[in-house]
């Protein structure tokens, strides 16, 4: 039993963390702007499909990654238009985007590729990166080297997100709009514009997450292949209070839970409770966070 929890489990966990992490890093921008974005799942799925389709036609993984980000951007643009411009409730519009992505990618898949094997043959995947000099070191080599390119990109993006949010003007504006839209507006910031931008950022990163899923982790596209990872990302964002490094920790916990439950499944043990833990934890931490916020509000003198 103890043999199951070894180095390769951590490696598997890191692999499973990446798509959730990428989507969550995107979604935390909308969260910071106080826009509840439940469309992460759909934007991710569209990105996954775009990556595979472009890789199939052009045999270029670079173009495929760019395409996935572009399609994620377009889905986000649609979402942003309806939420920000046309005042649709973001939950409803987000749900519609998810439904559209799941339906339309499956539609395209079945229309243009009659059988799946035909499609997977022409695909060029995103290459694995082995870090020179590290790949031969016994433990560290296995732990740090040999992942798909986007795994490293996602880790880099944690720091970039942290920087953008807390050290740039855009980040300040996003946080300001999230915290007090009226106050931001009175200083000349257009809250709607900032909300729109944050939605677009989430779209690009979700597209990237999709590309990792379909061309990095696997080399194929299947219907609804995101399988709820967008919602996991949402849970992670709430878990980490939309702060990039906390979100990264949360994403790893989800990845670890997924890895453990896959191990358990392979030996026929019930894995359901393990995979449930992150969700339960998210609900509990959400409640704890709101209780703390309430206490803070009560102890502060009334602002109004």
């Amino acid at each position: 039993m103890a043999g199951a929890f070894n180095l390769s489990l951590v490696v598997a966990a890191i692999r499973l963390t990446t798509p959730i992490l990428l989507a969550a890093l995107g979604g935390l921008f909308t969260q910071q702007a106080n826009v509840l974005n439940i469309a992460l799942e759909g934007m991710m799925l569209s990105g996954a499909f775009a990556a595979v389709a472009i890789s199939y036609f052009t045999h270029s993984w670079v173009l495929a990654i760019l395409a996935s980000m572009f399609v994620g951007l377009i889905m986000a643009w649609i979402l942003g238009a309806f939420v920000v411009r046309f005042k649709a409730l973001n939950v409803i519009a987000g749900m519609a985007v998810n439904l559209f992505a799941s339906g339309f990618t499956a539609f395209l898949l079945r229309t243009f590729w009659v059988n799946k094997s035909e499609m997977t043959q022409g695909l060029v995947g995103i290459p694995d990166v082995s870090i020179p000099g590290l790949s031969n070191v016994p433990v560290l080599g296995e732990l740090l080297s040999g992942y798909s390119l986007l795994v490293y990109v996602s880790i880099l993006l944690i720091f970039i997100a942290q920087f953008v949010l807390y050290k740039t003007r855009l980040g300040l504006r996003i946080r300001a709009v999230g915290e007090a839209p009226q106050a931001a507006a009175s200083l000349g910031v257009n809250p709607d514009r900032i909300r729109f931008i944050s939605i677009l950022i989430s779209g690009v990163l979700c597209g990237l997450a999709g590309a990792h899923l379909s061309l990095g982790a696997l080399c194929m596209f299947t219907e609804n292949m995101t399988a709820g990872r967008g919602f996991m990302a949402m849970a992670v964002i709430f878990f980490g209070d939309a702060v990039p490094y906390k979100v990264a920790i949360g994403a790893f916990l989800f990845g670890l839970a997924e890895a453990i439950s896959m191990r358990l499944q392979s030996v026929g043990l019930p894995s359901h409770f393990i995979i449930m833990i992150p969700y339960v934890f998210t609900v509990v931490s959400l409640i704890v966070v709101s209780i703390n916020k309430m206490k803070a509000q009560v102890s502060k003198p009334s602002e109004s």
Binding site: N34, L36, I38, I78, F82, V83, R85, F86, K87, A88, L89, N90, V91, I92, A93, M95, A96, V97, N98, L99, F100, S102, G103, F104, A106, F107, R110, T111, P181, Q182, A185, P191, D192, E223, G228, F231, M234, A235, F238, P270, H272, F273, I275, M276, Y279, V280, T282, V283, L286, I287, V289, S290, I291, K293, M294, Q297
Partner: protein, 368 residues
């Protein structure tokens, strides 16, 4: 403007808008089918024929619409109170399991009583599952949208565990033993498996209308949904009302699962719901939360679903096209195009108005 004029205008808008959205979505679908190189007219003929023409088509449509309508009603009751119950899917799973459990463990009950007991437990379980998010929202302001959504997964994995391990029927399939005949809902048609659940959801819709429009609790629910602060000032306990609305909503969610499983499957099958709870949300939106409108919208939804199967069979258009069209319908119904230049009749809404109503609900509990 007289009151009658107002009412007439509201009804026209309530029906006209969804119809416009549907027409728009279908025309977009036309273009998509054309581009995919298929015959749009043939495809739509198959779609509509498969949904609403002929006895077996209509029966299939109705079977498909029953759980969607029930889920839609669940969403609507919570929404009338300004609460989002995104957890119908989870309530549905747990309710279904509870109903099945009563169905296959208790033996020798008279038929009607057995069904009532099954459904009763399903309602209790569904309500209980909605209770925690409701209380968390009212007491501490935790977003019920997110908690109900996360709890869906917990419910789904939990029932999946139950059906894979302790209550698994021997064999390869992840399913429970079949329920006793006495717990089954009466079957109206063997071919399509249409069952009396159809009448049950109609009754639910009527009861929901009566509850919301003709009872004191319903009045309080609607008032709390419209304006919590005004309701509070006029002596309504908004906290208690909101929790009650969520409990009723959760109970209906549980019943939705019970009806589907006692009527169609007669046993709990792992992951049996193809997203009925989410369809319910869409249907409820399409009908603007009006229970009788949900009946219509639910049948329309069921029709699209069963028609899509026929369309895929008759032409080469994949049935998933319909999911894309449904999404487009939802988007257009949810949107407010009055801000567009061509529609510049109403003054533009101030920014953030989509959230302002919800914020009021969140803060009013403490601001007084």
């Amino acid at each position: 403007m007289t009151q009658q004029d107002n009412a007439r205008r509201r009804i026209a808008a309530g029906i006209g808008r969804p119809l416009l959205a549907i027409a728009l979505a279908l025309s977009i679908g036309l273009v998509i089918i054309r581009i995919a190189g298929e015959d749009p007219i043939e495809s739509y003929k198959a779609l509509i024929g498969g949904a609403f023409v002929g006895r077996s088509s209509i029966e299939n449509t109705l079977v498909r619409s029953i759980p969607v309508i029930a889920s839609g009603l669940a969403v609507a009751v919570a929404f009338a109170c300004g609460m989002f119950n995104m957890g119908v899917e989870g309530q549905l799973y747990l309710g279904a399991f509870a109903a099945v459990w009563v169905g296959f463990t208790i033996k020798g009950l008279p038929p009607v009583l057995h069904v009532l007991l099954s459904m009763g437990l399903a309602a209790v379980v569904g309500a209980a599952w909605a209770y925690l998010p409701a209380v968390a929202r009212i007491k501490w302001g935790t977003s019920e949208i997110v908690t109900t959504m996360m709890l869906n997964y917990v419910a789904q994995y939990f029932t999946s565990y139950l059906v894979s391990f302790p209550f698994k029927e021997p064999g390869d399939l992840q399913q429970t033993p079949a329920i006793f005949r006495s717990a089954e809902l009466y079957e109206l048609s063997a071919a399509s498996r249409l069952h009396v659940g159809l009448f049950l959801v109609v009754v639910f819709a009527v009861v929901a209308t009566f509850l919301l429009k003709r009872t004191a609790l319903g009045y309080e629910i609607r008032m709390t949904g419209l304006s919590p602060s005004v309701s509070r000032c006029s002596g309504i306990s908004t906290d208690r009302t909101a929790i009650r609305a969520m409990l009723i909503s959760g109970a209906i969610g549980g019943l939705a699962g019970a009806i589907e499983i006692l009527g169609v499957h007669h046993r709990f099958i792992n992951n049996f719901s193809p997203g009925y709870g989410w369809d319910g949300l869409a249907v409820s939106l399409l009908a603007k939360g009006n229970p009788l409108g949900i009946l219509l919208a639910g049948v329309f939804y069921g029709g699209l679903q069963s028609g899509a199967n026929i369309m895929e069979f008759a032409t080469d258009v994949p049935k998933q096209l319909v999911d894309s069209l449904r999404a487009i319908i939802i988007l257009f119904v949810a949107a407010d195009f009055t801000g567009l230049k061509i529609f510049k009749r109403k003054p533009k809404l101030p920014s953030g108005s989509a959230q302002s109503h919800r914020k009021e609900v969140k803060t009013c509990g403490r601001s007084v």
